[in-house]
């Protein structure tokens, strides 16, 4: 670097300083040890590596490469395959027990993985009533470990979710957690003590293990030499890992991550892309945009406990007025699908396609007319009807309930724009659509905590727009969301839906161990929900991800995206 170039910047010391630093950078030695590292861009750093506390997406991402479950889903058909288990479980209907044979595996510290680790994990969750995990284990009565490679679970009652949910929860190491458990037990607030325990080096059985966490900058997971899958073929896939490790780098904003992705500083941005980036990224031949469906549900919910939304006709008219095409095309920029039922279409096994589609194929005028029809039939009146005598659509004014009272102003609660701009925007647009027919609606974004408190805790609201980005593939949530037993403070039946028939079918579904029969029950549940509309299913955003293809090959697409353990185990350096 010559005098000339620095002189051209003279007069501005700041630039010169920058130049000097750049020069130093070029002179730095290149990385040189073993297999190349995969660099993963994330938005935030994990909040905690304590698996019992870590509920945020970023912690789960890191921990999912460390802690492993007994069974996992393979990417092509999403079928359960043995993972830490050696083969499929053996069910004994006589005493409601599942017998599971474990694979020969080692923890990342080299000690063997045994059945007592599994039993320990289950007992820990039950003893401390660990949130998020307890519901998976609460119905397990007893656990027996006849030998280090065999675990027998005795259930209190038949439970369909045992296979799909319980057996896919991660297992922790008894050696690492036993001292913590004993310490926490002595505390008055034992759960808090357990959750607040800092775990510096989580010991797992996964393909990677923690090497270094530099707070605020990156997390480096190196390849676990004790990974049970290395060199094996599981679910027809040859597992590595063939990479030297993973570096999770947190960016804070998508902008920064995308810029680095384009520069080649990271290989994948492990987060859904905003549609705005797609065009630009598609121009780069080394970047591949991967679209995957999400197991999500974004919906508008009503308070069925009070007027005006205790009226089914009104809910149906709202469902008719909502323009799902507008939401998907404009707000989601085309990267999403409309939802007609509460189970996402991507979950092909459980999604019911034969449900009523309220607004399908109608233009704005037709929607208003149809909604006007539904409401008029139910006895609603207007001071100025939205459809005048000649059948022309005008702006409706002064809507009155069937009993003659004017409809009181109501609010549609949404999460704030910083949390999810799309849902906030949907709330605003729904407000506009409802106003056209004369309904006094106003959208009100509010902080997420306050929103859930109002909807779930105090249950004092009119309507809301919420969503789940990561529903389990098992459809048991349909039961959870709408069964009347869950209509209580902090309960999951937020709408206050109360249908005896639904309750009956739902309880039957969770105990039904035959897949086909259970499927039929779940379809029936969905039809009831779509007919009664405690929730109006709106959309399911598509997962857009961008990966670089110049350094590694072998990305594995899956329902939750390309960033998954299969990908990380199969990626090969170019």
């Amino acid at each position: 670097m010559g005098y000339g170039s620095s002189r051209s910047f003279s007069g501005c010391g700041f630039l010169r300083f920058a130049l000097i630093i750049l020069v130093v950078f070029l002179a730095l030695p290149a990385m040189s040890n073993g297999a190349p590292l995969l660099k993963v861009g994330v938005l935030e750093e994990p909040k905690s590596l304590n698996i019992w506390l870590a509920s945020d997406a970023w912690s789960s991402r890191v921990l999912s490469e460390i802690y492993q479950p007994l069974f996992t889903r393979e990417p092509s058909k999403l079928a359960l395959v043995p993972w830490l288990a050696e083969k499929d479980p053996v069910y004994d209907p006589a005493n409601l027990s599942y017998t599971i044979y474990l694979r020969e595996a080692k923890w990342s510290d080299g000690t063997p993985f045994t059945s007592s680790d599994v039993a320990f994990t289950a007992r820990l969750v039950k003893e401390f009533r660990v949130p998020r995990f307890l519901s998976n284990w609460s119905f397990v009565k007893e656990i027996a470990t006849p030998d280090p490679r065999t675990v027998i679970f005795y259930l209190e009652e038949p439970m369909a979710t045992f296979l799909t949910r319980t057996l896919t929860t991660p297992i922790v190491q008894e050696k690492q957690w036993k001292p913590i458990v004993e310490y926490a037990r002595k505390k008055e607030k034992s759960l808090a003590a357990l959750l607040n325990q800092k775990v510096d080096y989580p010991v797992g059985t996964g393909p990677f293990r923690l090497k270094e966490w530099r707070q605020g900058a990156y997390i480096f997971l190196e390849t676990n030499p004790n990974f049970f899958g290395t060199g094996k073929r599981i679910a027809g896939r040859d597992l590595g890992p063939f990479i030297g490790g993973i570096v999770f780098k947190n960016y804070g904003t998508s902008d920064a991550a995308i810029l680095d992705l384009k520069k080649g500083s990271i290989d994948i941005f492990w987060w859904g892309l905003q549609a705005g980036y797609v065009d630009d990224l598609q121009k780069d031949k080394n970047i591949r945009i991967i679209t995957n469906e999400k197991s999500g549900l974004y919906y508008m919910g009503f308070n069925l406990r009070k007027a005006p939304f205790n009226d089914k006709a009104l809910r149906k008219s709202v469902a008719t007025l909502i323009d799902k095409d507008f939401i998907v095309d404009r707000i989601l920029q085309g990267f999403g699908v409309k939802m007609d039922t509460v189970v996402p279409p991507a979950n092909r096994l459980w999604c019911c396609t034969e449900v009523e589609k309220y607004c399908e194929g109608l233009n704005k005028e037709q929607r208003i007319k149809k909604a006007f029809g539904i409401l008029s039939e139910a006895g609603y009146k207007w001071d100025e009807p939205p459809v005048d005598g000649s059948g022309k659509v005008v702006k409706g004014k002064g809507i009155r309930l069937p009993d003659g009272t004017p409809m009181a102003a109501f609010t549609i609660l949404t999460p704030p724009a910083d949390y999810d701009p799309q849902r906030a925007m949907v709330g605003t647009m729904v407000q506009e659509w409802l106003r056209e027919i004369g309904m006094p609606a106003s959208a009100k974004p509010m902080a997420f905590g306050s929103l859930t408190e109002q909807v779930k805790g105090r249950r004092d609201f009119d309507a809301f727009v919420l969503g789940y980005g990561k529903l389990s593939l098992d459809p048991d949530y349909v039961r959870n969301f709408f069964v009347s037993a869950n209509d209580k403070p902090q309960g999951w039946n937020m709408s206050g839906y109360n249908n005896k028939e639904f309750d009956r079918v739902a309880e039957q579904s969770v105990k039904e161990m035959d897949l086909e029969k259970r499927r039929e029950l779940v379809m029936q549940m969905q039809r009831m929900v779509v007919d009664d509309l405690p929730y109006i299913p709106l959309y399911n955003p598509m997962l857009l991800e961008a990966v670089r293809t110049d350094r590694f090959t072998g990305w594995v697409s899956m329902v939750e995206g390309v960033g998954n353990t299969w990908s990380f185990c199969e990626l090969k350096p170019r």
Partner: protein, 305 residues
């Protein structure tokens, strides 16, 4: 000579105003500031026009039926559209209205509070004074943006008037200190003494005798408070805690930032930022020019010693 006589008939305050205005207008900062502000006022007033021309120019809900993503400037959309096909230019105009509303009303309220507290503290003295000024000290060290941020998250999304009110509640101490010291000196003046001897009530003395004398100073501080209020509102909206029902410039910046358009849509990134910066600049310039009018010390620079 004839003109002289006419001027003498004008009321005292008007003459003072004229003199102040001429000094103000001689100052290039004042001139630039007023001109810029005039442009923004024009923008704010004309913000009502686009939605009348065509509903698709409604800043919040109007979308171009043929445009489904952010596109650059064209004859149809002078500054292009945002990611949903909404017109950026009409959003910019609406933003001017919000900025004025927020800035002026928050500043007015904080000046009102500051002047009232300042006069009371200065005039009453003693315990009231100590209490008010300690309170002012406490509030003064709090970073307003972070306070509003915390309140925004605690009480859910705030609407624009709540934001205005909170800004006002946290920005009065600076003003009240200045007003207080002014009131303290005024208190010693003979005409206040005279009024008190004549039996005027405290309220009457404060409003009739002290207030007219501190008002110009309060007005000066108002211009600086306007900029502060606009900046805080914009920053709040930028961080995603603004009123989602309004289109403000901060909100526009948040949209361009959060929807991933900042690298490719300069036509969307530049205008709101330039507007926020220029409107604060114009108020700031006006404030500085007014400072010169009100503070004769600065004017003396050029006269003989």
């Amino acid at each position: 000579m004839k003109g002289d006589k006419e001027i003498r008939h004008r009321p005292h305050w008007f003459e003072q105003f004229l003199e102040g205005w001429s000094v103000f207008w001689q100052n290039p900062l004042g001139k630039i500031g007023v001109t810029l502000l005039g442009i923004f006022a024009l923008m704010a007033f004309s913000s009502f026009i686009p939605p009348l021309v065509n509903p698709m120019y409604h800043p919040m809900t109007g979308v171009d039926p043929e445009i489904y993503s952010s596109v650059g400037p064209s004859a149809r959309h002078w500054l292009g559209t945002d990611f949903m096909g909404r017109d950026i230019f009409s959003q910019l105009l609406a933003g001017a209205r919000i900025a004025f509303m927020v800035g002026v009303s928050a500043a007015f309220m904080s000046i009102f509070l500051g002047t009232a507290f300042g006069m009371i503290a200065g005039y009453m003295g003693g315990f009231v004074d100590t209490l008010l000024m300690r309170l002012a000290d406490v509030i003064m060290v709090l970073p307003t943006l972070l306070v509003v941020l915390i309140l925004a998250s605690l009480f859910g999304q705030l609407n624009i008037w709540t934001i205005v009110l909170i800004i006002a509640l946290f920005r009065w101490p600076g003003v009240s200190r200045v007003i207080r010291s002014q009131a303290l000196t005024l208190k010693q003046r003979p005409f206040i003494e005279a009024a008190r001897v004549a039996g005027a009530s405290h309220i009457r003395i404060i409003f009739r005798h002290i207030m007219p004398n501190v008002l110009p100073l309060a007005f000066l501080y108002m211009t600086f408070r306007v900029t502060a209020a606009i900046i805080i509102e914009a920053a709040l909206a930028f961080l995603g805690f603004g009123d989602p029902g309004t289109v403000s410039w901060g909100m526009m910046l948040q949209w361009v930032w959060k929807t991933g358009h900042m690298f490719k849509a300069l036509y969307w990134l530049l205008p709101p930022g330039i507007c926020i910066s220029l409107i604060t600049l114009s108020f700031y310039m006006i404030g500085r020019a007014m400072d010169e009018v009100l503070d004769p010390r600065l004017r003396r620079e050029e006269t003989a010693r």
